[in-house]
Amino acid sequence: MQKIRKTIVLRLEKFLRNKQPMFLGKSLIFILELIKKKKVSTKEVIDYFLKRIDKYNSKINAYLTVNRTYNSCKLDKIGLPIAVKDNFCTKGIRTTASSKVLENFIPPYESTVTKRLLDASFFILGKTNLDAWAHGSSTETSDFGPTKNPWDLSRSSGGSSGGSAAAVSSYLAPATIGSETAGSIRQPAAWSGVIGLKPTYGRVSRYGLIAMASSLDCPGSITLTTEDAALILKIIAGKDKFDATTANWEVPDYLSELKKRRKFVIGVTEEYLEGVDEEIKEAFYRLIEILKKLGHQIKKIKLLSPKYSISVYTIIQRTEVSSNLARYDGIRYGNDRTFFGIEAKKRIMLGTYVLSYGYYDAYYKKAQKVRTLIIEDFKNVFKEVDIILAPTTPVTALKLGEFEKYPFFGELMDVLAEPAAIAGLCAISFPFGLKKKENLPIGLQLMGRWFEEENILNLTYQIEKETDFLGVIKKGIKNYPD
């Protein structure tokens, strides 16, 4: 009798547990605590997310590949699930860069970022959608369909890390890894209402990241909380002997740095408000007031107009991309070059043009010189301020299909992100309010000095604690109940 009763109670508890969203919308750190306290097992957590993916992914198309091998892998350590943008080589898990060229490519090796996560006992839930080869700002150039914005399925989630941002925004993963060349983490994070961190160039290894623009690409994270961003950065940052462009810079304990009570001098500039949507500007000014209240100093600065960054970025990116895509000939892996999509072909040709006879000095070298100007500009400004605050994007999420109207679509959407990317600075985007009528997230960003991620993380944490990002993240997840 006792035994039967016990069984019923246990079954009931389990039933109730499955019914309640025990950790819907909860951060990695929160889940980690639960697992440590044995309130839930790693397997249960992973099953939870797989269930949600099965429920919502067909609508959103955030995931291209879902990893269901948990049962067959011996992970009895404390493991946290994470999804990874599909341009990171994950050994044994299909990696496509969202292109038909790599439709069936199974990497025989692990990227450094995913290796470090795996060594820290993370479990890779799956690979998320992106603009093919990371070329784009809407995920619409993916060869496997666009990723819809969880806030409004008729709109883009942004790009190129659209899948990563949408997955976190609709809680199909508690956190994801993305990559940014010029806005590819920050912009989709802004449009999808989550936090996107782009570390300093050279902070995180690119070994295993399918190269787009070698001198610009930065692996980074998309998360629901600042703590999670700090946690992930600590794991993935640091010199890698397989990537000669990683810096031998010490990796601070970002989590403990978060909690310090620090005051910053924050720069704001008119150049980054040109052409920006009114409500985004309002959010920006509102935050300034809050920052003043928190004791930070706001300082007006002057920066080079971001429009030059568009040209610099276009030239450098197209050049490096046309070169980095030269290896796809279908001989050793993948399909041949006839499988390239339109956007990729255009970028390759422009890159080829820029490097051709007679044009090197006029375009590529010129772009590198202007790059120096942009870097010097930031160096000067950072003598006066610690952090620069600006809107992340000029507009909120656009409707799917609009990108075709603009020849420079990506570059225009990323105009506020490009300067920091070209200079290699660290930057973070976080949600701050909604555009009322359309009910779309507004994103603001902080740009910090090279290798001073702890500053922008610290300030973001303060903002999070003070405002909860005006409730944006919680609101977004409410649309995606278990």
Binding site: Y201, S215, I348, G351, S356, T372, P407, F408
Partner: protein
């Protein structure tokens, strides 16, 4: 600037250099878009840079090497080498016959 505008032949030539296939129709379509992009990026000429040195590496690192003879941790087995190859023969990758000599 006196730059010659892109012609359809130029576009087809670029495609050939980049080992891409383009038909005539695509060449005409892309010509317009490429031309637009090239015109835009010329705004860099508004900036004076004659005394500026170009940046090819953002972070000022130099002399990054590895030691000759270091243990190889990345060697691939034959299975791994060929798991994604469409054509192979005698543990070599295979392509259509190339006539050189």
């Amino acid at each position: 600037m006196g730059r010659k505008k892109l012609s359809k032949e130029d576009v087809l030539h670029l495609a050939r250099l980049a080992a891409l296939t383009l038909n005539e129709e695509e060449a005409v379509k892309y010509k317009k878009q490429l031309e637009e992009t090239i015109s835009y990026i010329e705004n860099l000429n508004e900036l004076e840079t004659s005394n500026i040195s170009p940046t090819s590496h953002i972070i000022p690192i130099t002399n990054i090497f590895f030691d000759d003879g270091e243990k190889n941790k990345r060697g691939l087995s034959l299975t791994e080498v060929f798991q994604n190859a469409k054509n192979k023969e005698n543990n070599c990758f295979k392509v259509r016959k190339i006539f050189e000599e």
